[in-house]
């Protein structure tokens, strides 16, 4: 007999997913794709599957003092689990230092481990009487600059030892419980169930330690499957680790190669085909989301970039039915290059040639002029980035990667335009 433990990563109740199309931005639709719905589903599934324990790795709510909105959803969900005799344990992350202690005080079936920043262990008992030990530590305050593992020694015994921790791994100087991989390994536990980073690690029985990831995508950049993880624990060890991809919303990058495009209208065909293939793959993997957001990048070499852009302006990209999913394009960008060889173009004594040379320089970090070009561009762009329009973004100075990306994208546009002029002139 195994003990079924459902490990839940960051939820951030109180937030709605971003980058939604207008048709899904209303409160109701957005919430239906957000963490509240994900929580409801995982509770349903936990009850159906009769899990023994649900372990919450912190950041269940977005605002640490959201006692009226998100707290209500959380309370209801945990109460349901408790009502079905499912044990619920959790640790507080940097976002829920106030909410979880209150939940523990109000809901007797919920155990908050390590309240106040003190390590605490609890025994998880399976239906067959087998026992596993779960160690937990909760954020005492929103900012923790020291490692929770520092100076702590875990007492081991023959039982399976698990750790539940919200932390920032290998981020020296972090204010969110910085720990190192070494500390985690040295702790000597059989598995670490980590919260804070939204990108999940590839957890397996062989490698059961890592970030659980966000339960559902909150931003366009949170791509890939999302959901809680079911650990099947036995006295002999971790038998299985399975991700329940029950997130209502999923984001995926989608690169569409436009090389060889013969006419502009074909871009739609290629795009729809790529969308369909992606959707089918996701559906085939099981537990499909309700909506699939796509971060589309057109790449490759084509001289029809502008026409392709124009062809897409009339396309309905907010609602693409594919494989039974509602798909939408959240972001669309072109990073194509003209068909002509940039090296040949770079030999031209013309502005186009100069731009092509700049492209080659950008693609070659070892080029003598690479650094100077990037620095000059950064100085120029920094001055623009200091415009008061961007102050609310609280950005720092652009880094090299950003500058290079912007330069490349602009070069893509410029070269496309110049090549088009050349073709027209010819």
């Amino acid at each position: 007999m195994t003990l079924k433990l459902l490990a839940v990563g960051d939820l951030h109740l109180g937030r709605r997913p971003g980058s939604l199309p207008d048709a899904l931005r209303d409160a109701r639709s957005a919430r239906s794709l957000g963490p509240a719905t994900a929580l409801e589903r995982l509770v349903d599934e936990a009850i159906n599957e009769q899990v023994d324990v649900v372990a919450l790795a912190g950041d269940l709510v977005e605002a640490h003092d959201d006692f009226f909105e998100a707290y209500r959803d959380l309370h209801k969900a945990v109460a349901r689990l408790v009502a079905h005799n499912i044990r619920v344990v959790g640790v507080a992350g940097n976002h829920d230092v106030q909410v979880l202690p209150r939940l523990a005080a109000e809901l007797p079936g919920f155990d908050l481990l390590g309240e106040g920043g003190q390590w605490e262990e609890t025994v998880l008992t399976g239906a067959d009487g087998s026992e596993e030990v779960l160690h937990g530590w909760s954020f005492p305050r929103p900012a923790v600059t020291t490692s929770p593992l520092a100076g702590h020694r875990f007492e081991r015994d023959r039982r399976l030892q698990l750790g539940l921790l919200h932390c920032d791994r290998d981020q020296h100087g972090s204010h969110h419980g910085p720990v190192t991989s070494g500390e985690l390994d040295d702790a000597g536990l059989d598995a670490w169930l980590l919260g804070h980073i939204h990108k999940p690690d590839a957890l397996t029985p062989e490698k059961p330690s890592g970030y659980l990831g966000s339960v559902t995508a909150l931003r366009r950049t949170e791509t890939g499957p999302r959901g809680p993880w079911l650990y099947r624990l036995a006295s002999t060890g971790i038998e299985a680790v399975e991700q329940w991809t029950l997130a209502p919303l999923r984001w995926e990058p989608l690169e569409v190669d436009l090389t060889g495009l013969q006419e502009a209208g074909e871009v739609t065909t290629r795009l729809m085909r790529a969308v369909r293939e992606k959707a089918e793959a996701i559906v085939a993997a099981g537990r499909a989301p309700d909506a699939l957001g796509l971060d589309v990048c057109f790449a490759g070499r084509t001289d029809l970039r502008r026409d392709a852009e124009a062809a897409l302006t009339d396309e309905q990209l907010d609602d693409i039915p594919a494989a039974g999913l509602r798909c939408f394009v959240g972001r669309l960008r072109f990073e194509t290059l003209p068909e002509s060889d940039p090296e040949r173009l770079a030999r031209e004594k013309s502005p186009a040639g100069l731009l092509a040379r700049q492209l080659l320089i950008l693609d070659d970090p070892d080029h003598d002029d690479h650094r100077a070009l990037v620095d000059r561009a950064r100085r120029h762009l920094s001055a623009v980035a200091e415009d008061r329009a961007w102050q609310p973004l609280h950005r720092g100075e652009p880094n090299d990667a950003e500058v290079i990306a912007w330069l490349r994208r602009s070069l893509s546009i410029s070269l496309d335009a110049l090549q088009a002029q050349r073709r027209e002139a010819e």
Partner: protein, 1073 residues
């Protein structure tokens, strides 16, 4: 090609022909007053050197002579015909000459230098084509739209969203804090409610005491009154009195009624009308009436009977009634006996007949016969009876009648006997016998009758029958009459008796009738009845009255009793109406007082009821009337509950806010809005960065392409202009490849139209000169004519241009002809070039009268102090070096501030190159003049110090922006012509600080300057460097920024620090803020 002579024979505007001959090499100064023909020389040359075209004057005769390697050329123009000669021979083709537009480059008239000409446009177009490299770069730039305004608007949107989110978070925090108070709040409310309730009771108790006191006061007031009647009492009393009065009235009425009834009774004369048996009287009267009727009837019958009798008598011959047959007794007896015998015989006959008849037919009894017999017997019997009666009574004729009856009966019997015949012989025999007996009897009778005087028909049966009949009739009539008479008598007697009886009755009751007849009796009876009725009425009235009087008396007694009781209850003597009325007058006042008391009592009771369950302490206080204790308790409670309403409202607000938060998710909503605004701004940021990167790369590519492929002409013209202006201005093309002059001092680009006349002329001179040089196909320069082109040029620039032209003349062998009306220009040329140009006095050539004019004295040239004798500070003061104003372009920085450590070099640059500012030097070091004047190391050093200064100015300007001069306000579209003065005044007041100006505008210091225009102006100022939202850097930060920018150059960090320090120290104090 050298111009050797010019002949103007006929030209519009020229009256007399003239010639310039023996023109030599190098510089020529052609002087002459206005209208001396100077400009005509240029016109003449243009007309000679270009093909004729429409618009050229027709009346032309011009000629010129040129020398080149080919020989001596001569050109003649007459009208539209132009002819070239080479060495005196007609030439097949003219010499190689530039295009018409290019020719303008050689003929620089002041008019053509005042504005852009076709030549300049052609030059510009050529530049554009070359610099674009056959690409439409502006079209590519359009792929990178930049909309700072939109970006800022989104930035503001995100800020608003952030503020809204923060507000929602604050609101949530506030709600959390408030919600935490809820249990405490509820407890406070509960306590306060208890206190409120207690307060209510305390107040109630206080009220009770007050009411009690009031009660006592009112009661005392009431007690002062005598026993008061109520309104009801008064009303009752009035009612009772009224009632008594009514009773009395009614009593009187009843008494009167009684008396009147008694009078009426008396008048009826009947004391006991009930005893008046009117019914009996009426009955008797009816009998009397009936009797009278009967009597009347009897009398009628009697009269009729008499008549019949008389008739019968007449029938019998008895004559008149007076002659009425009156048989005696014997006669009558005889008749009677005879009649009896007749009767008996008739009876036997009848029987016999009957027996015989009955056995004839059916043997049935003969009813008819029996009836006849019966009738006969009856008649006989009757007659016998009547006879007896009649005989014994009067009148006698009645006996006769009876007799007649008998007779008649006998006749009847006879008839009877004659009835039916029997067939029985025995019977017949018997019958015959009977008949014989009958006849015998009848005969006897007849005899008797005749004896008595009766007419008796002794005829056979029929006559007898008639006689009997008549006799019978008479008898009957007589009997009848007698009977009737007897009846009448009897009736009269009876009637008399009844009348008497009735009258007696009537008399008994004083109802004497007027007569005895029925009507009189009727009348008397009716009167009696009336009297009886009247008596009965009267008696009833009297009875009623009496009863009523009894009732009235009783009621009066009761009423009096009630009245007495009423008075008694009021402690008044019975009948003391006056006192009662007095008291009734006091009643409203008393009632008011009583009402008050009642009200007070009611309130008191209500209050006491509400205080039923009060605590012991309060009950005791009330009992003891301890107001002080209660008041103290009230104060305590009031203090406690002052905030109850607030507490309740606060609780309600908290709960409402909580519910609203749970329902509307405002925190989540604001966060979502913030995230969305942030996403949009991030997207715009990306777009903008890509666009800016695009512009950066395009500008960079274009700049380098231009640098690499800059038209030689432009480069040359640029160098010339820098030389002419001592580096003040350089020449460049803008994005549209339009010619622009760049002010190296102020760092501003200026269109040709924005330049001063002098600078514009110098620019065009430089441009056309470079163009001409570039387009001359061989080293055979054409002469250059400048018609008063340097008139408005300041001395330094004059020297620069003149020097350049002299160098052109010297180096390329070009003739330079300078036309001027200024006599002192000769001195200028001499001073600038060191040589005296060849002078041609056009007025003299044309023999025009001129006023002699003395040349003006040229102003002395400025000289700088000797740097060897001074400290840098002294030298700067002596030289009048201005401080550094980093608000201006770095180009305006005086060179002193970069070369304090090398004053000799500074002196040389300023003195020899006539360069004073950083911009001029930066511009000049790139020119040939600069290269000639300064060695490479010096140029490098100067270049780096120039960079340091430029970077330092850029660092200093962070957060400051340039001063907003009037020209900037004129340039922007945000300020209208009408507003310009007022906005400029504001700018002056704000020390030309852009942010202060904007703030002033937002504070409406310039009326009707709309908000949208303020935004537009702000954006323009920011775009053009007048407004910088960043925080200013301090000195160290500026130094580090400069160091970061220029480090790596040959200048050491120490020297960089040195230069920066100089610049910091030299900053004008008024700019430091």
């Amino acid at each position: 090609m050298k111009l050797r002579a010019l002949h103007v024979r006929e030209l519009p505007g020229i009256a007399e022909p003239f010639s310039l001959e023996e023109l030599g090499e190098g510089l020529h100064l052609i002087s002459g007053p206005n209208a001396s023909g100077k400009s005509s020389l240029l016109r003449a040359l243009q007309l000679l050197l270009t093909e004729a075209r429409t618009g050229d004057p027709l009346h032309l005769r011009l000629g010129a002579e040129f020398d080149n390697d080919d020989g001596r050329w001569r050109v003649e123009r007459s009208g539209t015909t132009r002819t070239w000669y080479l060495d005196g021979r007609h030439a097949d083709a003219p010499p190689a000459l530039p295009e018409r537009e290019t020719l303008q480059s050689y003929l620089l008239g002041v008019e053509s230098l005042l504005g852009r000409s076709d030549t300049d446009e052609a030059i510009g177009e050529r530049f554009r084509r070359e610099l674009a490299g056959d690409y439409d770069l502006p079209a590519v730039r359009q792929r990178f739209p930049v909309s700072p305004r939109i970006d800022r608007r989104h930035g503001e949107t995100l800020q608003q969203a952030e503020r809204a989110l923060r507000e929602a978070e604050r609101h949530n925090q506030d709600l959390v804090q408030r919600y935490r108070r809820l249990p405490e709040l509820e407890q406070q409310i509960a306590e306060t409610e208890r206190a409120e309730q207690a307060l209510g009771q305390y107040r109630e108790a206080l009220e009770v005491l007050r009411l009690r006191q009031r009660h006592d006061e009112l009661q005392a007031g009431l007690d002062a009154y005598p026993p008061m009647p109520s309104r009801e009492d008064g009303k009752r009393c009035a009612e009772l009195n009224s009632r008594l009065e009514t009773l009395r009235t009614r009593e009187r009425e009843q008494q009167e009624r009684y008396h009147k009834a008694g009078e009426r009774l008396r008048q009826t004369g009947l004391d006991a009308p009930e005893a008046v048996d009117v019914s009996t009287a009426r009955k008797w009267l009816n009998e009397i009436r009936e009797g009278e009727n009967r009597l009347t009837q009897l009398r009628k019958e009697h009269a009729r009977a008499r008549g019949e009798r008389e008739e019968a008598e007449r029938a019998l011959g008895a004559g008149e009634p007076e002659g009425l047959f009156r048989p005696d007794a014997e006669q009558v007896g005889a008749i009677e006996r005879c009649a009896n015998a007749v009767y008996e015989a008739e009876c036997r006959l009848s029987e016999t007949r009957a027996r015989a008849e009955s056995t004839t037919a059916t043997g049935a009894p003969d009813n008819e016969g029996r009836l006849d017999l019966l009738g006969a017997v009856t008649a006989l019997a009757g007659g016998a009876l009547l006879l007896v009666i009649a005989w014994t009574s009067e009148p006698a004729w009645s006996a006769l009648g009876a007799l007649l009856v008998l007779l008649g009966a006998g006749v009847g019997a006879r008839r009877l006997l004659r009835g039916k015949q029997s067939s029985d012989p025995l019977a017949g025999q018997m019958l015959k016998q009977a008949k014989q007996e009958h006849d015998r009897a009848r005969a006897a009778l007849g005899e008797a009758a005749t004896a008595a005087g009766l007419q008796y028909d002794s005829a056979p049966a029929s006559s007898m029958q008639v006689f009997v009949d008549r006799l019978g009739k008479l008898d009957r009539a007589r009997a009848t009459e007698a009977g009737h008479e007897a009846e009448c008598v009897q009736q009269e007697q009876d009637l008399a008796a009844q009348r008497k009886r009735l009258r007696t009755l009537l008399q008994k009751w004083n109802g004497q009738p007027a007569g005895d007849d029925a009507p009189a009796l009727e009348s008397a009876l009716e009167r009696l009845e009336q009297r009886r009725d009247a008596a009965a009425d009267a008696l009833r009235d009297m009875h009623d009255s009496k009863n009523r009087l009894r009732e009235l008396e009783q009621e009066t007694g009761e009423t009096r009793q009630r009245l007495a009781e009423l008075f008694s209850s009021l402690q008044l003597e019975p009948g003391d109406q006056r006192t009662l009325e007095q008291r009734l007058e006091m009643l409203p006042e008393w009632e008011a007082l009583h009402e008050k008391l009642r009200g007070v009592d009611a309130q008191l009771q209500a209050s006491l009821k509400r205080l039923d369950d009060t605590d012991e302490a309060l009950a005791r206080w009330m009992e003891e009337g301890d107001q002080e204790a209660i008041a103290a308790a009230i104060r305590d409670a009031q203090a406690q509950i002052e905030s109850l309403q607030e507490l309740r409202e606060e609780k309600a607000r908290i709960e409402a806010d909580r519910d609203q938060a749970q329902r509307e998710h405002p925190l989540e909503q604001r966060r979502a809005e913030y995230d969305r605004a942030r996403e949009e701004l991030e997207f715009l940021f990306e777009q903008r960065m890509v666009a800016e990167a695009g512009h950066f790369l395009l500008n960079d590519a274009e700049s380098r392409h231009r640098s690499a492929h800059q038209p030689e002409t432009l480069r040359r013209a640029d160098e010339r202009l820098r030389t002419f202006t001592r580096g003040h201005f350089s020449l460049r093309l803008d994005e549209q490849a339009q010619l622009r002059a760049f002010d190296e001092r102020q760092g501003l680009e200026r269109t040709l139209e924005e330049l001063s006349v002098g600078t514009r002329m110098q620019l065009l001179i430089a441009l056309r000169l470079a163009w001409a040089q570039q387009n001359e196909h061989r080293d055979d320069p054409l002469p250059l004519f400048l018609d008063e082109a340097l008139t408005t040029t300041d001395p330094e620039r004059f020297d620069a241009v003149a020097s350049a032209l002299a160098a052109e003349s010297r180096e390329r062998g070009r003739q330079i002809f300078y036309l001027t009306a200024q006599a002192e220009d000769m001195q200028r040329w001499q001073r600038a070039t060191g040589i005296a140009p060849q002078h041609i006095d056009l007025a003299e050539v044309r023999r025009l009268a001129t006023a002699a004019s003395e040349p003006l004295a040229l102003p002395a040239q400025r000289s700088l102090p000797d740097p060897r004798d001074s400290t840098p500070e002294d030298w700067a003061r002596q030289a009048g070096i201005p401080p550094v104003n980093p608000r201006n372009d770095a180009g305006a920085i005086a060179l002193f501030h970069l070369l304090r450590d090398d004053l000799p070099l500074l002196h040389r640059i300023m003195e020899d190159l006539r360069v004073e500012t950083l911009g001029q030097l930066d511009s000049l070091v790139a020119t040939a003049l600069g290269r000639r004047s300064l060695d490479e190391a010096t140029r490098d050093r100067l270049g780096q110090r120039i960079r340091i200064a430029r970077e330092w100015v850029a660092a200093w300007r962070i957060g400051r922006g340039r001063p907003v001069e009037r020209s900037a306000l004129e340039e922007t579209d945000a300020v209208t012509e009408r507003q310009l003065d007022r906005v400029d005044e504001l700018a002056i007041e704000c020390n030309r600080d852009a942010s202060a100006i904007i703030e002033g505008l937002r504070n409406k210091r310039v009326s009707r300057f709309q908000g949208q225009k303020i935004d537009e102006l702000e954006e323009w100022l920011q775009q053009h460097g007048y407004l910088d939202p960043r925080s200013p850097l301090d000195e160290d930060e500026r130094y580090r920024r400069v160091l970061d920018a220029v480090q790596g150059d040959t200048e050491t960090a120490e020297s960089i620090r040195q230069v920066v320090h100089w610049l910091e120290a030299a900053v004008q104090t008024s700019t430091n803020h």
